[in-house]
Amino acid sequence: MKIDRDEARRIAALAHLEFDEAGLERMAVEMTKILGYIEMLPDLPSAPSQGGSSTPLREDVVHQSVDRDAVAHNAPRFEDGFFIVPPVIE
């Protein structure tokens, strides 16, 4: 699978990552090489599902949560109980 710069740009948009043009070009070359290696995987038929184990659920009860001030302390901007962000809509 050859990844060109436009395909790298499309994936970067999905991944929310910013690259300059040189960065995109480098990413395209490296991804092409790594995907070439990955493509050596055999294409096996699906095995019948063996059921497997399910994730146990815990009781739906209220517990003491972590301290809100300690959480807020890590936020780049936090005021009056809210995370402050740039405009979401124009």
Partner: protein, 467 residues
């Protein structure tokens, strides 16, 4: 031996007071950290009965947790990871947080935003990765024990390259609550110590069900120290044939000698085939990156972590792109890109689906091998520690270092690396012992026997501590 840090902590803590033990550790860090860059942060007043170092992707309340990433440079967790809470209760004093490849993505600790960790046996070489800081800290006798995380070999490979014991328990054996997630179906917290017995003791403390991690297992915690002195007479030991053709003559000879130690101890040693091991790197770099691309979506500069300066970014969307663009390093971006691609519409089955099917085949083959064997042997790493800078610009060559370690993560089985000797240049090598699910007890039994017969753990590196 005069130096208390040369002893297993199980002996050392009987010889010195807790305060002296911690002070001795802090002095050793002070002497060597400038040369090794094993610690990103050191505590100024640790409390406890024995010193412990913690990889900086496991959260602790008294020190920041950076994951060696710019994006988390100033993050301080409001809670302790479950392993930290358990170890504190058992007397551990956290002396510092150790260096790693950013978000545990790498095999050399060169992908840290805060510079590489250097190998205590030769400071021009890597310490391995991603838990390179923890491995170097134990090898250099800065601490008797350290925690790491292992997603594709990140405890075992640096343990081998630094000449210490590194353990990856069964998936679900140890709670992941408070371990910053990389690949959730592969991640497991593990231990570094000088000796097998110390790791067995530490695992006994951190193992067990945790209501905060729904993937932690309710399987009863075994007595890991019970069989340490039992020897290997009658033990069925399989030597995995795949991958051995790629080893240098020196590493191959070391591995053959290791198998011979088990044979002489009365174990039944024979060859076993696990053909899909040759695909493990390809499977791993699809599955791990796919999971990483989802797990790392949370780092967006809004609730915690670095937010890009407003500059020209006027919308929320632009803030995401800029914060992630400047906060993540090159290797993390590469893996997020590969993972996003493998999960994207039109490619999902050709990459992710295909990798999961081969992963299942690998699991089946290992289960089959364990029907007739108690433990399986491979080298931990195909080569000893390489030079800093040698592979950092060639991601695929770096990835191939995980060939022997990734299978245990993909199958969820426990595996450990035990020091197996030295190259002619004096660099350590490691033997990997893999056991079936929840077979840690027999893994420690085999490891303890090998260690007792060979005694390599007693040799101490001098490159960073010439006193």
């Amino acid at each position: 031996m005069s130096d208390v840090l040369d002893l297993p902590f199980t002996e050392a803590r009987e010889q010195v007071s807790p305060a002296e033990y911690l002070a001795e550790s802090l002095r050793a860090i002070e002497r060597q950290n400038a040369a090794l860059n094993a610690f990103l942060r050191v505590s100024d007043s640790p409390r406890g009965a024995f010193p412990l170092a913690v990889k900086d992707n496991i959260v602790t309340t008294e020190m920041p947790t950076t994951c060696a990433s710019r994006i988390l440079e100033s993050f301080r967790s409001p809670f302790d990871a479950t392993v930290i809470a358990r170890l504190r209760a058992a007397g551990a004093g956290i002396v510092g947080k150790t260096n790693l490849d950013e978000f545990a993505m790498g095999s050399s600790t060169e992908h840290s935003a805060f510079g590489p960790t250097r190998n205590p046996w030769d400071t021009t070489r890597v310490a391995g990765g991603s838990s390179g800081g923890s491995a170097a800290a134990v090898a250099a006798r800065m601490v008797p024990a350290a925690l790491g995380s292992d997603t594709g070999g990140s405890v075992r490979q640096p343990a081998a390259l630094c000449g210490v014991v590194g353990v990856k328990p069964t998936y679900g054996r140890v709670s992941r609550y408070g371990l910053v997630a990389f690949a959730s179906s592969l991640d497991q917290i593990g231990t570094f110590t000088k000796t097998v017995g110390e790791s067995a003791e530490l695992l006994g403390v951190i193992a067990g069900r945790d209501p905060f991690d729904s993937t932690s297992s309710a399987e009863p915690v075994d007595d890991y120290v019970a069989d340490l002195e039992r020897g290997v007479r009658g033990l069925r030991v399989g030597v995995i044939s795949e991958g051995l053709d790629k080893l240098s003559a020196e590493v191959r000879r070391n591995f053959d000698d290791a198998a011979g130690v088990f044979r002489r101890g009365g174990a039944v040693v024979d060859d076993v085939h696990v053909p899909s091991i040759t695909h493990s790197i390809a499977i791993y770099y699809v599955v791990a990156n796919a999971e990483a691309s989802a797990n790392l979506a949370r780092f967006d500069g809004i609730r915690y972590g670095r937010r890009a300066a407003a500059g020209g970014h006027t919308s929320l969307q632009e803030t995401y792109f800029a914060s992630r663009g400047e906060g993540f390093g090159a290797e993390v971006k590469r893996r997020i890109m590969l993972g996003t691609f493998a999960l994207s519409s039109g490619y999902y089955d050709a990459y992710y689906g295909r990798a999961q099917r081969v992963r299942q085949k690998l699991r089946d083959e290992l289960a089959e091998a364990f029907r007739t064997h108690d433990v399986l042997l491979t080298p931990t790493s195909p080569e000893p520690a390489f030079r800093i800078g040698e592979k950092v610009d060639d991601p695929l060559t770096m990835y191939l270092n995980d060939i022997f370690t990734a299978p245990a993560n993909l199958a969820g089985v426990p595996a450990m690396s035990v020091p197996s000797g030295f190259t002619a240049e004096g660099m350590p090598l490691g033997l990997q012992i893999t056991a079936p699910h929840f077979g840690e007890r027999v893994m420690f039994r085999a490891g303890a026997f090998f260690e007792k017969e060979t005694g390599y753990w007693k040799r101490r590196p001098r490159a960073s501590d010439r006193r």
